[in-house]
């Protein structure tokens, strides 16, 4: 193992409402693959964004190749030799593959961009990586996996000294992951420093040399991979945070009625012949890889996207749902994975958000009955233990967990009995996560029925009574919680992939 290429010390960073990084340490050697691990929201991506100049650190020092550095944008980081392969792909869909790879540093012939040379160079890069992609294809026409490969090609073409892979395998097939590992080993042999961020324990054991674990924005420790077990890492990741007791068996009464039945649902290319049942008081987990079609299923069911075919029954009665308005009429509420875009109106108060979906119940003639509105909002603030000085607080000033509670309140005010939680704890810190879990369990015990889409295996295993697994738009399995294991779910979640 070579000399130290990157040393980050005492890095601190706060956002409104969240202490994202709490005096974190991290270092990488040349010729090393260093894993950065932690649950969602542990601060891994934030740390890397501080490193590459996307965020500015509040305090601490970054030493790269023996020099103190502070990058102000990704360009400066790139020029110094640090490249990040992003988790959310940052590609311009309307440009071609070659144009994307060389964006910002196009080959020129006078005033004219030398597209021919860029295509040749792209082909050379792809040959080096042993992958087949047409450099002339529009980026938006590629699969997510192929787009990721283009990001990697782009990173390599930068003459990078340190490459950060931010959950590269989340959207890749087994075959593509193998290809990726070949590439990473190759880069390691060339004495590059590599940071590998992933949730997948098996990959960490296979590909990395050292592991650094983060939890709740703090640094937990660094281990040498071959000297530690999976359990060591998991213990460090989870720590002493006491979670809601994991379910070992379904909490649903055996005679609980079916409240929602979906039969042969088809919508676009991401939802293929999906059927399932949801029973009263049940939490039905939806598991699968990124792009498995879970969110698309939920959106089609909720009427947010058009359906091609399929029947929906609510409380045994066949219903037609062509719009969210219809869905809400039948008591279905949808909590989007992207709260800020679809869940709440951030610049408005808790009161205005809470009654948004049920305003007609709070009218006096043509005027909004402010006192009735205030009363019901305060009731739910109390019931859901939302932390806020008062009901007039703007939602933008609340933390992620409390924002989520406002969204839950919105649907409860609307008397929704079927709630679809799409990634209920995304972007929420660990303490608040547990509160959301408790709340979901309480809602289920009170007779609400919940569909929970989640990419976190621990969340799926902790919360679900039953688990539906999807892969590439198809339902590939349904398991009772009593029989569910991580391996079984992963096996079904990758069933359709080569």
């Amino acid at each position: 193992m070579g000399e130290c290429i990157l040393k980050m010390e005492d890095i601190d960073k706060s956002f409104p409402g969240v202490h994202a990084l709490d005096h974190v340490h991290f270092d990488v050697n040349k010729g090393e693959v260093h894993a950065l691990m932690g649950e969602n929201g542990a601060g891994k991506s934030t740390l890397m964004k501080v490193l590459t100049g996307i965020y500015t650190k509040d305090s601490g020092s970054i030493n790269f190749e023996g020099r103190e550095v502070e990058f102000h944008n990704t360009r400066e980081a790139q020029d110094a030799g640090i490249v990040i392969v992003h988790q959310e792909l940052n590609m311009v869909g309307d440009l071609t593959v070659a144009q994307n790879i060389f964006i910002g540093r196009e080959f020129m012939k006078g005033f004219k961009i030398d597209d021919k040379k860029m295509i040749e160079e792209s082909n050379r890069l792809f040959a080096e990586l042993k992958i087949e992609i047409d450099p002339k294809a529009k980026m938006k026409d590629l699969t997510v996996g192929k787009q990721q490969m283009c990001e990697i090609a782009k990173a390599i073409s930068h003459d990078a000294k340190l490459i950060i892979f931010d959950e590269p395998s989340a959207a890749l097939t087994e075959k593509e992951i193998e290809d990726l590992f070949v590439i990473i080993r190759d880069l390691r042999a060339k004495n590059l420093g590599i940071v590998y961020i992933s949730h997948r324990m098996d990959e960490i054991k296979v590909i990395t040399d050292r592991v650094t674990v983060m939890r709740d924005g703090g640094y937990v420790g660094t281990l040498i991979t071959k000297d530690c077990t999976k359990e060591d890492i998991i213990n460090m990741m989870v720590g002493r945070v006491i979670y809601e007791e994991p379910k070992t068996k379904s909490q649903v009464a055996p005679d609980a009625p079916v409240v929602l039945k979906v039969e042969h649902l088809n919508a676009g290319r991401m939802v293929k012949d999906v059927s399932f049942e949801l029973r009263k008081g049940e939490i039905l987990g939806f598991s699968g890889l990124m792009g498995a079609g879970r969110t698309e299923t939920a959106r089609a069911l909720f009427g947010a996207d058009p359906k091609t075919s399929g029947d929906i029954y609510v409380n045994g009665e066949k219903v037609t749902i062509n719009s969210p308005q219809d869905a809400v009429k039948y008591g279905i509420g949808y909590l989007s994975e992207d709260r800020k875009r679809y869940g709440i109106v951030v610049q408005k108060s808790i009161t205005e958000n809470s009654t948004l979906a049920a305003l007609e119940n709070y009218m006096s003639g043509i005027f909004i009955n402010k006192s009735a509105e205030k009363k019901v909002t305060n009731q739910y603030i109390k019931e859901l233990a939302t932390k806020t000085p008062n009901a007039d607080q703007l939602v933008v000033n609340l933390s992620g967990g409390n924002q989520q509670k406002v969204v839950i309140a919105k649907w409860l005010v609307r008397n929704c009995d079927i709630l679809i939680f799409d990634e209920p704890t995304r972007g929420i810190d660990v303490g608040a996560k547990n509160e959301i879990y408790k709340l979901m369990n309480r809602l289920a015990a009170e007779g609400k029925s919940i569909i929970m889409i989640s990419s976190e295996m621990t969340e799926i295993l902790r919360m679900s009574d039953r688990i539906v697994i999807m892969c590439e738009g198809e339902k590939t399995g349904e398991i009772d919680i009593a029989e569910a294991t991580q391996e079984l779910i992963m096996d079904k979640a990758t069933r359709n992939i080569e």
Binding site: T74, R75, N90, G93, D94, L95, G104, I113, D115, G268
Partner: protein
């Protein structure tokens, strides 16, 4: 997949060409007047400023922005430069340069407001639209030198005249000039950094910023280019109207913007072509100047133009929905 798409795109441009051909044929059948060479000449005369404005505004529209100030701006530049000719006896060539320069300045103001101060494009250019209209109104009506007068040479940029009287042969070289500019800007859009980043900003601005590109500069430039063409349009406008009237120009930008959308620029940015713009504007021009030949009044022109625009934007929306479904 890609091949299929190219086919679809060429289809849309093909549709626009068909519409143009259909309009011309209909006019020729129903109006003997329209069949005369002089009608076509006059139609072309009144198309140049629309085309020039449209070439320019194609760029902001591809960035998913808009420029509403080009119509009033064009008239304002023509008035100011015209006053210079009349009051200061400035040579016509200098006045033309002034038009272009003023266009660039207003374009830069738009760009800075939008790309640096983060004002919504609609709002920023609505303000400059009002301001240029106000400044234009301060001047009095100015006729630029006519062909008969000294210095009227600038008319011949757009139309060469051989001989005199009825038998004079007039060649619309303005059309060739405009087509050359279209080809030039099509090249700029597809083969230069400026063009490529213009498309990229409209497609995914965040990704362009993360690629370390000076996005603000290129974003401002899209509006400067738009202003520059509004300045060129001012020259073409002054060359065809008898007098440039103060306080006019509002609404002219809408013909140009409408033409761009008919030509296939995506209503949400990220895709477009200048060649398409040329074709699209000619549909608008044919409706505007041609309908009176077949006896339809001004209000009908507006209604039909609006309907055509809806059809064009619907094609874009349906195309996108299909693409999204295919994914």
């Amino acid at each position: 997949m890609t091949k299929k798409k190219n086919k679809l795109l060429s289809d849309q441009r093909f549709i626009v060409l068909l519409v143009i051909a259909a309009l011309i044929i209909i006019y020729m059948i129903f109006s003997p007047e329209f069949r005369q060479y002089s009608s076509i000449l006059s139609m072309l005369d009144f198309s140049y400023y629309d085309v020039l404005m449209a070439i320019g505004v194609t760029f902001p529209l591809i960035t998913a922005g808009v420029d509403l100030s080009i119509g009033t701006g064009m008239v304002c530049y023509a008035l100011l430069a015209g006053s210079l000719i009349r009051n200061q006896h400035v040579p016509v060539g200098v006045a033309m340069l002034v038009c272009v320069l003023l266009g660039c300045i207003v374009g830069m103001v738009n760009g800075l407001l939008i790309a640096v101060m983060n004002l919504p494009p609609f709002l920023a250019t609505l303000c400059t639209c009002m301001i240029t209209r106000g400044i234009g109104s301060m001047s009095s009506a100015v006729p630029w030198p006519t062909t008969q007068q000294d210095g009227g040479w600038f008319h011949s940029i757009f139309k060469l005249t051989f001989g005199t009287g009825r038998s004079a042969l007039k060649i619309p070289i303005g059309f060739i000039l405009v087509v050359a500019l279209v080809i030039l800007m099509e090249f700029v859009l597809n083969h230069t950094k400026f063009g490529r980043y213009t498309i990229a900003i409209g497609s995914n601005k965040e990704a362009v910023i993360l690629s370390g590109i000076n996005v603000k500069f290129y974003h401002v430039m899209a509006y400067v280019i738009c202003g520059l063409f509004a300045g060129l349009a001012a020259i073409a406008y002054a060359a065809v109207v008898p007098t440039v009237q103060p306080g006019t120009g509002a609404g002219l930008e809408l013909d140009a913007i409408g033409g761009v959308f008919v030509g296939g620029v995506s209503a949400t940015g990220g895709y477009g072509s200048v060649l398409g713009t040329l074709a699209g504007v000619f549909v608008i021009v044919l409706l505007k100047t041609g309908l009176p030949y077949v006896g339809l009044q001004a209000n009908w022109q507006q209604i039909i133009t609006g309907a055509v625009l809806i059809a064009a934007v619907l094609i874009d929306v349906i195309k996108r929905r299909r693409a999204a479904k295919a994914q």
